[in-house]
């Protein structure tokens, strides 16, 4: 493998004109190259270029085999799969079933890994031959393919890791992806180079892909404007116009899979225990005003968490909202709050796009129906602690994604025994539906069950849905880049103009 790497190294040096380097500014550094031990989308966005999953979601959000050639569902708990031919790791080792077994069983067994909860359902991987293996789960697992199309199924090189040791792997990671690792200067940059023996053919477009870590918004924008980077993630809405108007740069947006919402407390004694109050609050919030003004169009109003592209999405609840101040006042009066009431709203600060601003705006809107909002903006770690300790008051703002792209995970938040002492929302109908869907392997029926839950929740308003967040990128005009909903930045899909 060594000689080969040297050649690659030399190759980049001789061809090293700056025009063939793709530079991407990201907001936070990757956490590590342990693909199983983080829960960080921006880290995955980098890994995505170096590792392949067994399955992958295509641009239409349909799960397609990636490393897998063919698969066969044997029974409720067993799927047999065959790997593609000619796949090699960056060190030259061929990809085998042993690597898959090693990878999946690691994440399914090691409870210190952050991805463990998402893979503990896997009981074992049975190796049939070099390219054929079976994935066996503990129980019937409807969302197995969702799981296998995300970071946990990024396949690790077993031999390399066992021979060189885990620490060495973390320092010099090896995957099967189109790009291979060159350098990581922490909190500064990650440099990748094309892998010459990529099984789908070497990527010719770029000699080097550099991810630069630039946490400060204005600095990222400045780099983009001065041509220092080709792509800058997460621009503050205030700068969109500036970037768009600047010669040579533009703003690209795409909806993310994250929904921003207010989680209400239905515990007895809180005004929000009353359905009418919850509905009134929902009606008093003008979702459109939020997305248009504060987010500058960077969001889509919604009444459900399960956005299109996710399994079980209820499209009629998407891209719509209720806003009726008069009705809200009426409901409040009916609920016994003609003069309104006082409530606390917790919100993180700097976690989501304009989160504090959104919260402040909401506080202003609720003022219009005489609800006095005591806004408590919190630094993220304090916010997490507050939730952890169950100290949430009437409402808190949170943004929830769904890395499984499976609506079941979203609606599970309405399960009554899940948040006892925290939200205390209980709806027996939902509970029944949830129980049924959990083990339902009939895809269509399961989707219907999930949709039904969304419809009930939209009426009952245990959580006030605000909007689906938009992700945005500042992009240099010299490149062609189409953002994707999963927030990956897949270099092979980016090209020079």
């Amino acid at each position: 493998g060594d000689g080969h790497e040297d050649a690659a190294e030399k190759g980049t040096e001789t061809k090293g004109e700056s025009g063939r380097t793709l530079t991407i500014a990201i907001g936070t550094d990757i956490v590590s190259f342990d693909i199983h031990n983080h829960n960080n989308t921006s880290t995955e966005a980098v890994h995505d270029n170096m590792f392949n999953y067994l399955f992958k979601r295509d641009e239409n959000n349909v799960i397609q085999p990636e490393l897998v050639e063919t698969f066969d569902i044997i029974d409720d708990r067993t799927v047999e799969m065959t790997l593609k031919e000619g796949v090699t790791f960056h060190n030259g080792d061929p990809l085998t079933s042993e690597d898959v077994k090693f990878t999946l069983e690691r994440v399914a067994a090691d409870d210190t890994l952050q991805e463990y909860p998402n893979y503990k359902q896997i009981k074992e991987v049975e190796v049939i031959d070099d390219r054929t293996f079976r994935v066996i789960t503990h129980e019937a697992e409807p969302s197995l393919f969702h799981r296998l199309s995300r970071l946990g199924s990024g396949i690790l090189p077993k031999t390399y890791i066992e021979e060189e040791g885990w620490d060495n792997f973390l320092a010099n990671p090896v995957g099967t992806g189109p790009y291979q690792f060159k350098e990581w200067v922490r909190d500064s940059k990650i440099v990748l180079t094309p892998y010459e023996n990529y099984f789908e053919g070497v990527v010719e477009e770029w000699d080097e892909v550099v991810f630069r870590v630039i946490p400060e918004n204005s600095t990222r924008v400045a780099e983009l404007l001065t041509g220092g980077v080709d792509i800058a993630v997460n621009l503050p809405p205030a700068d969109w116009e500036r970037v768009a108007e600047n010669e040579g740069t533009s703003v690209k947006t795409e909806t993310s899979n994250r929904t921003i919402m207010l989680i209400l407390r239905a515990t007895e004694g809180y005004p929000t225990a009353d359905l009418r109050v919850r509905q009134a609050l929902d009606l008093a919030i003008d979702n459109k005003a939020i997305t248009e003004n504060v987010l500058r169009g960077g969001g889509i109003p919604t009444k459900t968490r399960v956005a299109p592209g996710n399994f079980g999405a209820e499209e009629s609840l998407y891209n719509t909202y209720d806003y009726d101040v008069e009705k809200a006042k009426q409901l409040l009066k009916e609920a016994g709050y003609p003069d309104g009431f006082e409530m606390t709203l917790h919100s993180p600060h700097g976690r989501y796009l304009q989160d504090a601003e959104v919260a402040e705006l909401i506080a202003g809107m609720l003022q219009a129906v005489n609800v006095d909002v005591r806004l408590e903006l919190m630094e993220w770690s304090n916010f997490v602690e507050m939730r952890q300790a169950g100290e949430n008051k009437d409402a808190y703002l949170i943004g929830l994604g769904n890395s499984m792209f499976d609506g079941a995970y979203s609606v599970d938040w309405y399960r009554s025994d899940r948040f006892v002492g925290e939200t205390d929302y209980k709806n027996e109908e939902i509970d029944t539906l949830l129980e049924a869907s959990a083990v339902n392997l009939d895809v269509d029926e399961r989707a219907k069950q999930i949709q039904e839950i969304q419809r009930i929740a939209a009426k009952e308003v245990p959580h006030i849905m605000l909007h689906q967040e938009t992700i945005n990128y500042g992009v240099s005009d010299r490149i062609e880049f189409v953002p994707s909903m999963d927030e990956m930045i897949y270099a092979p899909a980016i090209s020079r103009k």
């Binding site: 205030a238 700068d239 600060h349 601003e357 402040e360 630094e379 304090n382």
Partner: protein, 305 residues
């Protein structure tokens, strides 16, 4: 003194002396240009803080999506309603600045007073008694001094969660060592001064020696340093806001406004510029005032220059 032969009652005389002192002070103040500037600046900020209710034209937290990012009144597109323009939520910047002065001053002053109380007490006791007590305190001071203030503040704030009083506590905790060190040094030299020995010779109790003889004499260096501290504290609060751990809404501080506005530096400059100027001017005023105080309070300064 020899020519002073007119007789007057003691009360009258002391009043005259006091008003005389006031007069000399103000005369000295007016003579020092920077002192005057500092005094005026600080007075202006105090005025803002005291009369915020009257001076503010809007509710500082009132959001108005329709009026976002309006420039100051004198620019094109500005409205006379919003003197310094509006921010990204359509809030009136002038009103926010006016209210912000309150918290900025409150934080600056209270933190310094808090730190000062601890620092002066520790400094006097450690300096006066010396020995192991002194050694223990000084090691503690060394420890605090070797952790950068902002770092300690960062850690404490993230532990307890940001808020006005936590911030004041944090700034106090990070600052007391400066006073302790300063005061201890002063006390060590003061202790050798003969009036302290004289007091002991008379049989004055230790506690009284510290309170009556040491404390008043360490006050003037303390006052000088603490004015500067108020300035650095205001800046530190702004820096913590930048790191997301400063004053949290709905409380308003200049640091918070400044840090909120930093995404708009290029597009809507007024968001960050006005609080930036306010902080700079206030700090400037306090530093000037501190310099002047140093000159006036330095007994050697009386007949020099």
């Amino acid at each position: 003194m020899q020519t002073d032969t007119t007789m007057a009652s003691p009360a009258e005389r002391s009043r005259r002396i006091r008003s005389n002192r006031l007069l000399t002070w103000s005369r000295r103040l007016l003579r020092s240009k920077t002192g005057t500037v500092g005094f005026i600046l600080v007075l202006a900020v105090l005025f803002l803080a005291a009369f915020a209710d009257v001076l503010a034209t809007h509710n500082p937290n009132e959001v108005n999506p329709a009026l976002m990012l309006k420039p100051p009144a004198w620019l094109e597109g500005g409205s006379s309603q919003h003197l310094l323009g509006t921010d990204h939520l359509g809030r009136d910047i002038w009103s926010r600045m006016v209210y912000g002065s309150r918290i900025s001053l409150l934080v600056g002053v209270t933190a310094v007073v808090f730190a000062g109380l601890i620092g002066v007490a520790v400094g006097i006791v450690a300096g006066f008694y010396g020995g192991w007590l002194d050694r223990v305190f000084m090691r503690l001071v060394d420890a605090f001094l070797s952790i950068p203030n902002i770092l300690l503040a960062l850690v404490i704030l993230s532990v307890f969660g940001p808020g006005v009083w936590t911030l004041i506590f944090v700034l106090g905790v990070t600052n007391w060592v400066n006073y302790a060190r300063l005061v201890r040094g002063e006390v060590l030299s003061m202790k050798e001064r003969e009036f302290v020995k004289a007091a002991r010779a008379i049989g004055v109790k230790n506690r009284m020696v510290m309170v009556r003889h040491l404390l008043p004499n360490v006050m003037s260096p303390f006052i000088v340093i603490s004015t500067l501290s108020v300035a650095t504290t205001i800046i530190l609060e702004a820096s913590l806001s930048f790191l997301g751990l400063g004053i949290q809404p709905p409380d308003i501080s200049w640091g918070g406004i400044l840090s909120d506005g930093r995404d708009y530096v290029a597009t809507s400059w007024w968001l960050a510029t006005f609080p930036g100027i306010a902080i700079t001017l206030t700090v400037l005023g306090i530093i000037f005032l501190g310099d002047w105080l140093r000159d006036v309070l330095d007994p050697r300064g009386q007949n020099r220059r």
